[in-house]
Structure formats: C-alpha cells, structure tokens
C-alpha cells in the first residue's frame, strides 16, 4: 500500500502499549479465566477461534468477485443471496453475520465504512486494515467520500453517484468492483489476482495489471 495517501502509516507503527493494563484487557482476561475455570471453554478453543478469525484473507472475496465477472448468472445469485452463492464455491459463511454484496457500475460507486466501530466483512476479507479502523477514515468517508477516495488514487466522474454504506448494525457489506477494461480474455484465475482488498471496500478500483512495487 502506498504511503502517500495518509492512511498507511499505522500498519507499521510500533506497539507502544501492550494493553495489559487497560480495563478492557483486564476484563477480557478475567472472563477468559472464568470460562476456562468453569469448563465452558478450553484455552485451545479460544486459540482456534482466534486462528479462524485471523486466517481469513481477501482471497475468498476475490474468488467470489472473479466468478461474478465471468458468470452473469452467478453474479445475479451473489447479489441476491451472497451466502448461498459463496457456498457454491466452497466458502462456508453460515456462522457469520448477515452479508450484503453491492455492485459498482458506471453509474453507482459504493464505498463501505463503519462509523461506530470497525464492522467489516471479515468472513471474506480477513481482519480489517488499520486505516479502516482509524477515526480519520471513519469520520471523513461519510462526509467527504470523494475526497477520501482521491487519496487512494481514485477520482470518480461527477456523473457517478457515490453511495456510502455505513455498516452500523447486523449487516456486513462487500463491494463487487467493476471488471477492469481490457480483461475480456483474462482467465478467471488471473482475474482473481486483480481483485484487491481495497477494491472490495470500495476505496479503489481494480487495475488491469497489478502495479509492481
């Protein structure tokens, strides 16, 4: 991710507080100790639940997007019932929050934010990037989405309706980005590699060829 747009810095910031002294961390540890002591959970259960949460990556989201680009019938099913469509590709989302998939077109461009916390389609993208959780992104995306996208290198034409989705409650949203021009003969597997995490949040569009850094 580029360092030029003002969001990327936190990802490499050193950890200055280890969290052990915060009241929330102490409460979490107390709960964990109680649940273990009462035999509700084992430390291994907790470990594997955390592993499952962080092992998700944007690859699953990209798989859905690439299939939707090459198969219009699949795209229709994905927009109508995302979990059922994901299951067709072997992605089991039954235990996760409700999911909505929204399609970017030449008329409408969606961008996702959670102003209240950091709700995010983790089941398809993995843990959110640090900038997604930042106050800066959360406050500015709802009030000046075009300005925020400009910082990510995306300048949308005035005629495109910018539609911000603030996922405040029980729904998570994944953006189905537009297929890049000039990729008509590119295979589904290659298309997958063009689908970036940021394009599924809506702050950028997939590029025909991934820029080499």
């Amino acid at each position: 991710m580029s360092q030029g747009h003002g969001h990327g810095h936190d990802e490499h910031a050193p950890i200055r507080h280890d969290g052990h002294s915060s009241p929330l961390a102490r409460r979490a540890r107390a709960l964990e100790a109680l649940l273990t002591e009462k035999g509700v959970l084992t430390p291994a259960d907790i470990r594997s639940a955390i592993d499952a949460l962080v092992s998700r990556t944007p690859a699953d989201g990209a798989k859905l997007v690439a299939r939707a680009w090459v198969d219009p019938a699949f795209k229709a099913r994905l927009l109508a019932d995302p979990k059922a469509a994901a299951a067709e590709l072997g992605i089991d989302l039954t235990s996760y929050a409700r999911l909505g998939v929204v399609e970017n077109t030449d008329k409408v461009h969606h961008v996702v934010v959670c102003t209240l916390c950091s709700c995010y389609p983790r089941m398809l993208l993995g843990p959110p990037p640090a900038w997604y959780k930042s106050l800066n992104y959360r406050a500015r995306t709802v009030a000046d989405p075009r300005g925020v996208m400009r910082e990510f290198g995306l300048e949308l034409p005035p005629k495109v309706e910018v539609r911000v989705l603030d996922s405040t409650a029980d729904m998570r949203y994944l953006v189905l980005p537009r297929r890049p021009p000039g990729t008509e003969h590119v295979s589904e597997a290659e298309l997958r590699s063009l689908v970036t995490r940021d394009s599924m949040i809506g702050v950028s569009n997939p590029q025909p060829e991934r820029a080499h850094v």
Partner: protein
C-alpha cells in the same frame, strides 16, 4: 414491520447513552427505506447481557448527502445508506 421499501422516514433526534447503533450524524435527518433486512436482537440491550428481545426490525435507510451535510463537498446526487433499527425511525411528516 412498520415500514416498507420507499417509505419516507425521519431518524429520531434522541440523545441516548450506551451501546447505540444509530450514529449521531444522522439523528433528526430524513431519508427513505431502501430495504428491510428482517428482525434482529436489539443490540442496545443485548450488549449488556440481556436477551435483546423483542427483536427489532432493521432497515437500510438512504439519505441524500446534501440532506445530511449542508456543506457536502461532493455531488448533489451522492447518497449515504445506514442500517437503522425501527425504534429509531418515525414516519416523515406528509408522507403517505
């Protein structure tokens, strides 16, 4: 479900403490019901160890950005969509 897709609604202007899922910046603003998501346990009590019952209908509510932010810097056709629980919505004056 009290509202249907297309209904004009206004978000209550209440100032409430706790685990509230209605962001302050849309309170008092008017928009329209874009979709009904179904019923969910109420996070305002669920967050405090309660059952979150009765369940609350949840709607996707659309707003014109220029109705939310008087000095919105984008285009007048830009929109904002927020998920809002039914008890935060009232019918917009003058709507059917």
């Amino acid at each position: 479900m009290r509202f249907r897709e297309g209904d004009r609604v206004r978000v209550r202007a209440d100032d409430r403490a706790g685990h509230v899922r209605t962001p302050a910046y849309i309170r008092g603003k008017s928009g329209w019901v874009a979709a009904a998501h179904g019923e969910f346990r109420n996070p305002e009590s669920l967050a405090y160890g309660d059952e979150g019952l009765p369940k609350q209908p949840l709607y996707l509510v659309g707003f014109r950005q220029t109705d939310v932010w008087p000095r919105y810097p984008g285009r007048p056709t830009d929109t904002l969509y927020v998920d809002v629980y039914e008890h935060w919505l009232s019918p917009e004056e003058g709507s059917a």
